[in-house]
Symmetry: C2
Subunit: 634 residues, 2 copies
């Protein structure tokens, strides 16, 4: 299927061939300095090395070395530790693909170590199957074997696409063949407690053309929802085993599981032309976005099971919004965008990238949010540490260097490394600008140069060169961008928000300017999001803003602050400022449900305060923060 000589350019993470639009390769996207270019550099310079260092320090790499040695060892880390190495391999592969070989030696070493541990029959997991370990496939609920395999397959495909080397892809084929024999029709009627292998199998099919891998992904997909996973207090929905994917109306259960499953299902639907399945996924996406998604794009409001709540259960002070769920949401939306070409999917991708994925890593790339709360009430909430001094789970205040469950940092790393591939798409007639990212993007129709300091400003300059005659340029106008303008050859037009501006027949060397309206916006929530009634949020462009305690006048507490009835958001000195009032000193009543009606005429102190970009909060020492701000008098 693939032409080996063309390999270096066929480096899209999702080699989706049958949709409304097609991706371009990582190798064909060169980001320039700017919001995302800087984060790719941070990834190359800090995040990847940081992740590798921790995985080494904690023995997650050593697990593979010990497994290869054949001697008895005590496995370090959780059931899914192997997968973190695979995500790191994937991240470095995309770095290679985009022309950065900073970590090439590390990549080679990791691939060597991993492949040495693979068993003759293709099986590869460092926690199961050796004489002193639990047997293979003895724990489908929590064992994460097939989950780890899925990440291996994704990493192997990335490695093959980036380097052209066959060795890891061969390992992936051996592993996938093992899975197909064991879990194929008539085989073990089981699915993994955590969806993921479906994604890996479809991508391996795309890379190798071996239909059996796609078929096996379908088998796993159709098997889920038939109750093969043992009972657990979290319920069958936790692992999406409560109903068949094609029958569901909304995402439910563990958010990352639900989103990986949905992304894999979208892959299967695309490759099998399963229109019913695709429609089901579009419907689920829509209802999930309408009823189970935070303003940031974050998903998951339960800490207990890291899960979606019921419709409109979206309390800001208990928002979980796992970073991996943000990454997985991008993966799901990306596949539906490729399938349908509808702008709403790119809208959500943008929202999630700016407000979840970009929020996780610290400025120095050495600490991460695992959960991304929309309301931090206490300055210090110490994380729980395990015996290694590593944070056990990430619900605490502040970014943390590493986690016992460290799925998020390498997920951020692989997303940033491959981000170039998510900016521009094409189809037979047109090029689509999906995201506004400074860089040069090579499509089959033209070279697209984008110059912008977005989201600092809303001006995006697009230049097309080496143009195929007759091709159109389609520019996404975000749904928040009422009042956007496009200038082309002296003409100015006002494209509709929430759709693509379609520019027919762009010419060689043509320059187009998009001007997005960047004045801050006041945002109100649906009444059914009960937890934010009487509050407003402020957004600017794709960025959600927040009120952080360090920006308040001396001595004010975040709890005492409300927006003025006309908060008058305005830009000044690179920040958005709003008018707030300090409520009358709070009396800590003995019983908090005996408050008299507020005296609207009570003496109040006013002030103007700067809001922080949500993704930049918690970078200036201990603080409290809220995205949804009460309005005075409500």
């Amino acid at each position: 299927v693939n032409n080996s000589s063309a390999r270096r350019t066929d480096t899209a993470p999702v080699a989706f061939r049958s949709g409304a639009v097609r991706p371009i390769a990582v190798a064909d996207a060169h980001l320039e300095p700017g919001f995302w270019g800087a984060r790719q550099e941070l990834n190359d310079r800090a995040i990847i090395a940081h992740a590798a260092e921790w995985m080494t320090r904690l023995g997650w790499v050593r697990n593979f070395e010990d497994a290869a040695s054949g001697s008895r060892y005590e496995h370090r880390g959780r059931e899914f530790a192997d997968s973190e190495i695979y995500k790191l391999i994937e991240a470095i592969s995309w770095e290679i693909a985009r022309g950065r070989d900073t970590h090439a030696a590390l990549l080679n070493r990791l691939v060597d170590i991993v492949l040495a541990a693979q068993e003759p029959d293709g099986y590869l997991h460092t926690l199961f199957g050796r004489p002193w370990q639990r047997p293979r496939y003895s724990d489908f609920q929590w064992g994460h074997e097939l989950y780890c395999f899925g990440h291996f397959l994704q990493a192997a495909v990335a490695h093959h696409r980036a380097t052209g080397e066959e060795r890891m892809l061969e390992g992936a084929r051996a592993l996938a063949d093992h899975v197909c024999v064991l879990f194929g029709p008539g085989g073990l009627n089981r699915v993994c407690g955590h969806a993921e292998i479906e994604l890996g199998l479809v991508e391996l099919y795309r890379e190798t053309g071996v239909r059996r891998y796609l078929d096996q992904a379908s088998v796993f997909l159709e098997r889920r929802g038939t109750g093969t996973i043992p009972l657990h207090e979290f319920g069958r929905a936790f692992w999406q085993d409560d109903m068949k994917v094609r029958d569901a109306e909304v995402l439910r259960g563990h958010a990352v599981r639900a989103l990986y499953l949905s992304a894999g299902a979208a892959d299967v639907a695309a490759e099998t032309d399963d229109v019913e399945l695709r429609s089901a996924l579009e419907r689920q996406w829509q209802r999930t976005v309408a009823r189970r998604t935070y303003l940031t794009g974050g998903m998951g409001s339960h800490h207990m099971d890291e899960a979606f709540g019921d419709d409109f259960v979206l309390p800001p002070d208990r928002s979980y919004c796992e970073t991996c769920a943000g990454v997985a949401s991008v993966m799901f939306s990306w596949r539906l965008l490729l399938a349908t070409g509808e702008a709403k999917y790119a809208d959500l991708i943008e929202r999630s990238l700016f407000n979840v994925v970009a929020t996780s890593p610290s400025e120095d790339g050495r600490a991460f949010f695992y959960a991304n709360t929309l309301h931090q009430r206490v300055e210090h909430s110490l994380p729980s540490l395990n015996e290694d001094g590593v944070v056990i789970r990430g619900g605490a205040a502040g970014r943390q260097a590493w986690f016992e469950v460290s799925c998020c940092p390498p997920n951020v790393a692989r997303t940033l490394a491959s981000l170039g591939a998510y900016v521009v798409t094409e189809n037979d007639d047109a090029i689509q600008i999906q995201q506004f990212v400074a860089g040069v993007f090579q499509t089959s129709h033209a070279t697209v140069r984008v110059a912008t300091d977005y989201p600092l400003s809303g001006t995006v300059e697009i230049e097309v060169d080496a143009v195929t005659p007759g091709v159109s340029l389609e520019i996404r106008i975000p749904s928040w961008a009422e009042g956007a303008r496009i200038r082309r050859a002296g003409d100015e037009t006002a494209p509709p928000a929430g759709d693509y501006a379609r520019l027919l027949g762009v010419g060689e060397g043509e320059r187009i300017t998009l001007v997005l309206p960047m004045q801050p916006r006041i945002t109100r929530a649906d009444d059914r999001v009960d937890a934010v009634r009487g509050c407003l949020a402020v957004e600017r462009g794709p960025e959600v803003l927040a009120l952080e305690s360090v920006d308040l006048p001396e001595g004010w507490l975040l709890d005492e602050v409300a927006l003025a009835s006309d908060p008058a958001p305005a830009e000044r000195d690179g920040s958005v400022w709003v008018d707030v009032v300090r409520l009358p000193q709070i009396d800590d009543a003995a019983w908090p449900y005996a408050r008299p009606a507020t005296d609207a005429a009570a003496d109040r102190t006013g002030a103007s305060v700067a809001l922080v970009r949500y993704h930049e909060w918690a970078e200036r020492g201990p603080s409290t923060m809220r995205v949804w701000i009460p309005v005075s008098g409500m």
Copy 2:
């Protein structure tokens, strides 16, 4: 210490002797038909038998029989299954104490079975220590050995107080001696992951006069907070092992653990005259009530760890409010009430009894709420069942027959059986009416007869007979009862709310009438309870009311309903009615954060709807429900 001949009357659950007021015995409180009298009858008629039936069916009783037989067996139920039998024994003992022998044969049988399983060295737990089981004391985090012992001690004391029989008390002494030897000063430096044994040890000290048991309770108390429990993702605060009890400012971590610990600490403080410790507990109680308690008195806002959240994290749609936490809150408040004589503790007891404890059991006593949400968003949320068909954990909609973790039903049973002892207290000069419950209460100063249909009406008739000359009658005036009136010998006075009305020198045969204001009240929350901003609740007397979907006009959804700007709550036909409006048909926007400002002039349909008593909700088929109701235009 105790005079055996007086045994039958010394049946207070908490034989607190050193406080501002003293309890009376269960045997000295005879409830008559009324709100609580009916529930005691329900307990006698249904709840106890239902609990016994399930404990038998699931093999939790059989565990003891098998343990006594010496043969190998597979333990059924969770680590704390033994404790449920003990709570049942305690419940039946209080039934005996109040003169009901419905379950006397069952009690004898259970005590026989339990004692037969006790080992020669006093140890008693059916899950640990046999050759095929995990060793004793190999799991302080989750093993619940000392926790079960604590319930055994409480049950044994109750059994002794109720029946005068020595055999279970002897077992308790053997068990307590075993614990003192092993865990005393210089012994194993460990505490149980779940506080409870402290309560049992102090009560056993009170019953036997053996100081060593009180000392051992102190040892466990002082040892907690020194980090003896291994690390866990829930953090050290989960088991209150993050700091010493006397150093804390607020309750935190697992709610039932925190409240049992606090109750036990209050016992230790009282018996050791530890003023510093008592002050610390009063301070913690106050801050917990002011910042971490739901309107219902419910405690615990985290599902994940069944724990208290940060201050003001009280989302109604994620309220956990475990029934056992309500019971435990009553236990803690009761001890502080006895210690201080302050009305606020009795206020919270009343609130928790009416709105948590009374909410749990169904009308037929055969189903229970484990968690008590303040906002049910979906009619059907199916519980997760285990292999026995039993609900694994109680976060689902509706009351359930039984749970894998079934701490709550027997906790309700022992509370209802002993409820008479919580109504009236006394001290050297006075009798205190703490709760308004129809019945006859024998104190050392007088016989107090209370006739009332409270809370149907607010009229409470009190008659005192056989009066010690000069004794005063002190009647709690709830803090919500502004406008209460007391009529005595033709005089009417207006006592202050939130304190006791003190009636000096009551005479033989005197009749006093208390009239509490029962008009429905509109309740507002502190602004910092962000999740209910823009909402109001309605209360009437001690009862929290709620809006349940089954009371709405045909075709209306709960999500569409707001209180009219003047909801005008009024009583009619035995219910409280409020004026509501149906908001304009909700448009399920693709993105829920793009709502335009509400058009206050929009066409709205008005209606008057009846509210349900919160403790009676979910008795009329599938429904949605909310305590906090949005106000139109906010």
